[in-house]
């Protein structure tokens, strides 16, 4: 390992958390594509949400203006990130909260574990949070003898099913109602054996299962959707009320927040609270949004800890093109419109951040070499950019990251040779005539060697024409 100056931007450390997959995307995708149930579940869910989202976005006359404002606010935030975080720290402290700084996943896990131990408990309840998924907090707590209880319905399904989340908003999107019923029957103590697969019945079972946990657990861990630097206000956006339970009932609340979630002013929330629900769940407004500033005497947790997490974000910020990925508000609209995600589901991406935003965020957080296949996990169709409520140009970042990816030696040589030939028209014309040699590859190219056989496994190559255009032009 090379010695790096302590103050230099750093990527997320390996060996902790869930940002790196075990295998390259094409390999994982191949397996996912063979799962007909998964494809049907993901296809149904994403088409449902696309239609709902489009309908409620259509109701907003100033949607383009809100997107432009969001992009500007985020650009401004990133330019002033250090001072805004200091401002946030001061405001939270003034309101009775305590701010902790975590350079990476290891440090964040240690901070949270120490806080839970100090509270003298061996169980915490959790609100769905991407940041704590990213750092592998549940595993770290379990290693320390602390039981983490996921309270979001989808996270509960994932936790009970000993599964991995596959979507930012709906981590159990790869499961249908029948599979969820089976998981509940198998794993939920005391569940009614007559439980049906009606979503309302399944939700009611989760309500009964978690009620006692909510009332008796003294420490909760949450993420944050937004943190307002000028006021120290934290916001959590949710649907089920599990968030309200966790943010209201315990004595101690620990919030783990990626440093990019800060927004400068209270007023800025007026932009994001309009964009997020419509882009995310396709609702005009999500059922519940909680906002709190430090500690309120007599109401809610009387101890509040905010953990500010870097874990590779400083490295993302250091890339003038890629840093736009930090604008993400985790709405998952890009997943829902992505033709690749729709067919592979989220697990193929290997990281807790799947889909188009994951394909630009994960490689930057870990360093591109550790997630080198992800920038290529896109046909660059651009649907994600159109859907993004904060106007992140995901296709351009994908292309930018491909330039940083380690390239196979043979490919690099072929690309250089092609560029050279194409910069020399005589060579180029000769190569074009050579294209007709592809006939040697067998009928319709079926005899081609890998990787080109990847094409001809399912598609014919065109018959080379008798003459190229430029030959025709010269002859006319």
């Amino acid at each position: 390992m090379t010695e790096t100056f302590l103050g230099m931007p750093a990527t997320a450390p390996p060996g902790v958390g869930h940002l790196r997959g075990d295998e390259p995307f094409p390999v994982a995708a191949r397996r996912a594509l063979a799962d007909a149930q998964l494809r049907r579940n993901v296809g149904h869910a994403t088409s449902t949400i696309r239609a709902r989202s489009a309908a409620v976005i259509g109701e907003v006359p100033d949607w383009p203006q809100l997107r432009a404002a969001a992009r500007a606010i985020k650009t401004d935030t990133m330019a002033r990130l250090p001072e805004l975080l200091e401002q946030l720290e001061t405001a939270v402290g003034r309101a009775g909260g305590t701010v902790h700084w975590a350079a990476d996943a290891v440090e964040a896990n240690r901070i949270v574990t120490d806080l839970v131990r100090a509270a003298g408990v061996d169980r915490v309840m959790k609100v769905k949070s991407m940041a704590t998924q990213e750092i592998g907090l549940n595993e770290a707590l379990a290693d320390a003898g602390i039981e983490p209880v996921e309270t979001d319905l989808a996270e509960l399904i994932v936790q009970l099913g000993d599964d991995r989340p596959s979507h930012i908003l709906v981590p159990a999107i790869h499961r249908n109602r029948a599979e969820i019923r089976e998981i509940f029957l198998r794993e939920m103590p005391g569940v009614d054996p007559a439980l049906t697969d009606e979503p309302a019945a399944l939700a009611a079972a989760a309500r009964r299962h978690l009620r006692e946990t909510f009332l008796s657990t003294r420490v909760a861990v949450s993420g944050a959707n937004f943190a307002v630097a000028e006021t120290g206000t934290l916001a959590v956006v949710e649907s089920e009320g599990n968030g309200r339970m966790c943010l209201t009932l315990p004595e101690t609340l620990i919030t783990v927040m990626g440093i990019e979630k800060v927004v400068p002013t209270w007023r800025d929330l007026e932009v994001f609270l309009q964009l997020l629900p419509r882009a995310s769940t396709g609702e005009r407004m999500n059922p519940y949004t909680s906002m709190w500033t430090g500690v309120t005497p007599g109401d809610g947790p009387q101890a509040f800890h905010l953990v500010l997490l870097d874990n590779g974000r400083s490295a993302v910020l250091a890339d003038p093109v890629g840093r736009e990925a930090l604008h993400c508000i985790r709405c998952s609209a890009c997943l829902n419109v992505c033709p690749v995600y729709e067919r592979t589901g989220g697990h193929a991406y290997g990281s807790v951040y799947p889909g188009p935003i994951g394909a630009v965020l994960s490689p930057q957080l870990t360093g591109v070499a550790d997630n080198a296949s992800l920038p290529y996990a896109s046909s660059l169709c651009g649907a994600c950019y159109d859907a993004c409520p904060v106007l992140i140009d995901i296709p351009s970042i994908l292309v930018h990251l491909r330039a940083q990816a380690p390239h196979p030696r043979g490919e690099a040589a072929a690309m250089a040779a092609a560029a050279y030939a194409m910069d020399h028209p005589a060579l180029y014309a000769a190569a074009q005539r050579g294209a007709r040699l592809s006939r040697l590859a067998g009928p319709r190219g079926r005899g081609l060697p890998p990787p080109l056989s990847g094409w001809t496994a399912s598609r014919d190559l065109p018959e080379p024409p008798p003459q190229t255009f430029r030959q025709w032009w010269a002859d006319r």
């Binding site: 920038p375 491909r402 180029y428």
Partner: protein, 259 residues
């Protein structure tokens, strides 16, 4: 109008009929077509595969070759998209601000075929005749990078004899994506399978689009299925007339593999 044809390397090499049709169509409409012979490839494949340094020389060549012309037309949304949205970036990345500026000027004068016809030439009825049932696939770069919107459909609706049928889930990517189709062949094929299913559901004889690349992909899949649907570039349809049904491209095969 004097129009420089930006043929694109793929049409030049594998689908000359689309380029020939573009020439015939533009000439029929009274334009003078010139072919700057120094052109080769816009470099999009290099940029999108992660080789912007290799692409730089191709960007430089493209800009040098097309700089003298007032109007540049290409039968490809994808390649025009690269010229418009990538060339200046490649130049700037290499620290060549002067090239970036010149690339921006060339890009501003470069049009995809349907853009040129509707916006510059001001025509939607090009006098074409094409007695077939046709469905149109809006390729991603035409749709989202160039925002050609309904221009190709307006052109197709004015073609005599042509029965236009709507493609279900038309705006979904066909799964080509350049080297995506090679690097992620399974996912690409899954996307293609759905695209072909939708094309077949239209019961069209012909699937058309503004990019030979996507048509090569869709046509290659349909050919493997022996599905009996041809892929034909938009230019070939617009070049076709009663007097000259194949638009003067008679000797050349249809765009896709399917015949």
């Amino acid at each position: 109008m004097r129009v420089a044809l930006f043929v694109t390397c793929l049409a030049d090499t594998l689908f000359p009929q689309a380029a020939v049709a573009t020439v015939r169509l533009l000439e029929r409409l009274g334009h003078e077509v010139v072919f700057p012979e120094g052109q080769t490839c816009c470099g999009q494949m290099h940029v999108n595969t992660g080789y912007p340094d290799d692409a730089l020389r191709l960007v430089r060549r493209h800009v040098r070759v097309f700089a003298p012309y007032d109007v540049v037309v290409a039968p490809s949304g994808s390649c025009v998209g690269s010229v418009r949205h990538q060339h200046a970036t490649v130049a700037r990345r290499a620290g060549d601000e002067r090239l970036a500026a010149r690339a921006g000027e060339v890009a501003a004068r470069t049009y995809e075929l349907s853009e040129f016809l509707v916006d510059v030439a001001g025509v939607t009825d090009v006098g074409a005749y094409y007695p077939h049932r046709v469905t149109y696939h809006p390729t991603c770069h035409s749709l989202r990078m160039l925002r050609v919107a309904d221009r190709p459909l307006r052109l197709l609706r004015a073609v005599r004899g042509l029965e236009l049928v709507e493609l279900p889930q038309a705006e979904q990517c066909c799964g080509f994506g350049g080297t995506f189709a090679v690097k992620n062949p399974d996912t690409s094929t899954a996307m293609l399978a759905d695209k072909m299913r939708h094309v077949l559901a239209t019961r069209a004889d012909v699937c058309t689009a503004g990019d030979v690349s996507c048509l090569m992909h869709i046509g290659g899949g349909l050919s493997r299925l022996r599905a009996g649907v041809r892929t034909v570039h938009l230019a070939e349809i617009l070049a076709s007339t009663e007097a000259n049904p194949a638009g003067g491209v008679a000797a050349t095969p249809a765009t896709g593999g399917a015949r």
